[in-house]
């Protein structure tokens, strides 16, 4: 399942709908301090089911919705969508026949989040199941946030065991 597109709308500093086409196995994200690079990383973590606002550098989940700037008012809805190429049919059984798989999460102020796979409303668990054993779920090892790399080796012994079980 190769990631081919990432769409953000209203997520943190990405107030305007933005589509990022991923063309290649090594994609570098660059730019000056504060321009939104880590926000993109967090958007991916978020759409995969992150439930802790603290992991999004926020005090509550609504804080990921664009909260205004000098020239723009705050808005009340944010969404992030990942689009995968599934032409090799390797996605888990119920989705294996789709050529593309879209995973989407929408949040509305004070109303919480909704998850969608190929535009079908699903539970957060269904999104997590799509990535089971890949290191991408929950506290997986495949997403390394800014300043967190050494936590992986200094983690508690039980956490290290969890990584092993995830990969098994």
């Amino acid at each position: 399942m190769r990631l081919i597109q990432l769409k953000l709308a209203g997520f943190k500093s990405f107030v305007d709908p933005t589509t990022i086409q991923l063309q290649g196995q090594r994609v570098g994200i660059v730019g000056p301090n504060g321009c939104g690079k880590s926000n993109i990383m967090e958007a991916v973590k978020w759409v995969l089911g992150e439930s802790s606002a603290k992991e999004m550098r926020s005090e509550n989940m609504d804080s990921v919705i664009f909260n205004g700037s000098e020239n723009r008012k705050p808005i009340s809805r944010a969404s992030v969508e990942l689009i995968f190429d599934n032409s090799l049919g390797k996605a888990p059984t119920e989705w294996s026949q789709y050529a593309e798989i879209s995973v989407k999460r929408v949040i509305e102020r004070e109303k919480g989040s909704t998850y969608y796979i190929n535009n079908l409303a699903v539970r957060r668990k269904d999104v997590a199941d799509l990535f089971l054993g890949t290191g991408l779920g929950g506290r997986g090892y495949a997403i390394i946030g800014q300043n967190t790399i050494s936590q992986i080796i200094e983690a508690k012994p039980e956490e290290l065991r969890n990584y092993l079980e995830e990969a098994a």
């Binding site: 000056p32 991916v44 700037s69 890949t134 290191g135 790399i149 050494s150 992986i152 990969a167």
Partner: protein, 159 residues
Amino acid sequence: TRDRLIATFNEVNKNFTEFFKILFNGGQAQLELLGQEILDTGIQVTAQPPGKKNTTISQLSGGEKALTATALVFALFKLNPAPFCLMDEVDSPLDDSNTLRFTNMVTEMSKNTQFLYVSHNKLAMEMAQQLIGVTMQESGVSRIVEVSLEEVEKMELAN
């Protein structure tokens, strides 16, 4: 499933030791089980860069910890490649020669895993097949633009 976990442990351990040696150009590292019963015991990392006899992971330097963690993450990938991996400035504590070994290993691992990474580092930008520039022309509003390596250097100084 206990056998499977033991097999997984041995495989990841072997990869970890191998990748550590590549990233550090020597030295030794391994995973250790803290107890007898693999189904509920903890796992600990031991690592010694070339010529060093440190007893704990905590005493390693910032760069050494980042490199050791990389060896572990890639050891897990080799066994079971994640579809993609996100790295936010993981190369920032590395000096030039370690950054080079790091980027070489990312290039090798990228045969089976797609890497999406944030970096301020020129070597990391050079290994990219695609560079996505993030800008805030309008204050507080992010936009993206495809960029070349030359354009990046202009952009970082333009602020």
